[in-house]
Amino acid sequence: MAATLLLEQAFNGLQAGVTLFLIAAGLTLVLGIMDFVNLAHGVQVMIGAYAATFLAALTGNFFLGIALAIPFTFASGYLLEWLIIRHLYRRDHMEQVLATFGLILFFNELIRIGFGPASLFSNLPPSLSGFVEIVPGSPYPVFRVVIIGVGFLCALAIHLLVAHTKIGAMVRAGASNPDMTAALGVNIKMLFRLLFATGATCAGLAGMMLGPLTSVEPGMGEPLLILSLVVIIIGGIGSVRGAFIAAVMIGIVDTMGRVLLPVLLRGFMDQAAADGAGPALASMLVYILMAVILVVKPTGLFPPKG
């Protein structure tokens, strides 16, 4: 029993991890390549979740909703970069933090006006709401397996895109020397804008998949944003591989901590107190991990070369 429970939680951790990776991937590329701290990245998660929930309800089809929400989040990221973000690349980090903080306030309020402060809930279609037995005897939700699958596919796609395509080569060239790359005839501004929009879409996709698992509400992106900042710092800024490893690590540490800590705490305090303190202490675990890693390796585990 205990072993299957642990295994199930490990899968949950993996699912949380790949979701975090989807959010962190865009963040790490934008930060690593454009040196831009984007606190408003969590907003994209929220936009994705709302778009998918709304469009799914409108069309009556979950898959169609997601299919329509993906171009929508891409467009929103493209527009945001064009309107605001591109004016901030040359500013210092603190100004970027403040301006994108302003964006968070704006978008959370916009959603609150548009959809109300209450959470939206969405139902999974029957084809995704079943269970599979990965381990005989313990049913596991199909949807979470799908999320893990989609996350891995996206990770692979991003890796191939950045490391093995011409566009990826241009992006990497642009990162190490934007002026020289522009002089070679690459439209670097457009490249960055598309990269930003792609990152926004990945974050939006994470939001779409989280929608049916959690509540879709204004401000839902910020806790995820902070966790994905932790992920990219641990992984090394600008490193997609680092982000993936760190995301899975954080996902598993966080999930397992939430399950195991209360059990451990019950050993030396009463059950109610342990159940209360466990999850909060588990939330601390992630930050403790980050602080330890930064103290030992001040530029993260896998700082990109060059």
Binding site: V97, G102, E109, I113, I233, M290, A291
Partner: protein
């Protein structure tokens, strides 16, 4: 004696705006009691407390160039020092303050020592991480109210009877004045000048045989203590403490206040705090006047205002003021 007088005059001249604002706070209660607006005293106390904390953060952020995104943690530690002391029946306000200062100095030392090994974006994030860690620590402490926080008894500042409504107001004002004096002295001292030199060129300072790390650490610990003092007084004022006081958005708020007023100036943070909370008070009313249904959605205006400030108002309100006065002096020619 003469020397001391000169020194005081120099201090006053170094940040005249700060002392004007403080004088304003000094006479405000007279106005509010005549106009029968006691509600404004409460807002003024809030402004003074967060202004004080911002002044503390500004030492690190503005003068030292270290972008700490986790200073709300020290406000929280200070607030919980007072709150927890109260929980165990120690309601002596002075002891609570002393405790908050000591604990904040110690935690500022530890967090600063670990964080200052990193730089740039990593420093922003590690300070945020420590703040989150402490936030979740206090959320997990069910004994002290956990998520919901706990109500505290009125702190007892011996000799100062807080049942008299305005006593706490002037106590907070005193703390603000002390903070102002300490910071003006510090910024003008050898230490402050070195700190600012480190901000603009650390390697040169190092080449002169000084150790930048020590100066940064000292500034970090002092700013943590100032935030802690604000936090402890916050508990006395609210008679309530919850993890909300150290939510990460509070760290953002402090940064907004500083940038709004003027980064790296003595007057800026207090001016920024005044403007920030006046905006918070009046923006909903202005919106209610135009579109009554959306009064509570004032953030939708505040967000873009913030972006505009970052994009267009270099140097914050103080910078805008000095540009305006330069314009006036030059007779309208740019």
């Amino acid at each position: 004696m003469q020397g001391a007088k000169d020194y005081l005059r120099q201090l006053a001249v170094s940040a005249p705006g700060l002392w004007v604002l403080i004088a304003g706070f000094m006479v405000l209660p007279v106005y509010t009691s005549f106009a029968d607006l006691p509600f404004w005293n409460d807002i003024a106390m809030r402004i003074m407390l967060l202004g004080m904390a911002s002044m503390g953060l500004n030492l690190v952020l503005g003068f030292g160039g270290m972008v700490s995104f986790g200073h709300a943690a020290f406000i929280g530690i200070g607030a919980y020092c007072a709150g927890i002391a109260n929980y165990y029946g120690m309601d002596n306000g002075w002891l609570q303050l002393a405790m908050a200062l000591c604990v904040c100095a110690a935690s500022g030392f530890v967090i600063g020592y670990l964080s200052l090994r990193t730089a740039g974006i990593y420093f922003i994030m590690i300070t945020l991480a420590f703040a989150q860690m402490l936030y979740f620590l206090f959320v997990s402490l069910e004994k002290f109210g956990g998520d919901d926080g706990m109500a505290t008894d009125r702190s007892d500042f011996i000799l100062i009877d807080l049942y008299e409504p305005l006593r706490l107001y002037y106590l907070i004002l005193c703390a603000l004045v002390i903070t102002g004096i300490i910071l003006s002295v510090l910024v003008r001292s050898r230490f402050g000048v070195t700190l600012q030199a480190i901000k603009s060129n650390p390697s040169r300072v190092e080449a002169m045989g000084l150790v930048p790390f020590k100066f940064k650490m000292t500034a970090y610990v002092i700013s943590a203590m100032i935030c802690g003092m604000a936090g402890a007084l916050f508990t006395s004022w609210q008679e309530y403490v919850s993890p909300d006081i150290m939510h990460w958005t509070r760290s953002g708020e402090l940064m907004i206040i500083i940038v709004l007023g003027g980064l790296g100036t003595l007057t800026g943070p207090l001016l920024g705090a005044i403007c920030f909370f006046l905006l918070e008070e009046f923006l909903p009313e202005i919106i209610a006047w135009i579109a009554p249904d959306y009064a509570e959605n004032w953030m939708i205006i505040f967000g873009p205002v913030l972006i505009a400030i970052v994009l267009f108002a270099r140097g914050g309100l103080l910078g805008a003021c000095s540009r305006l006065s330069a314009l006036a002096r030059s007779g309208g020619r740019l």
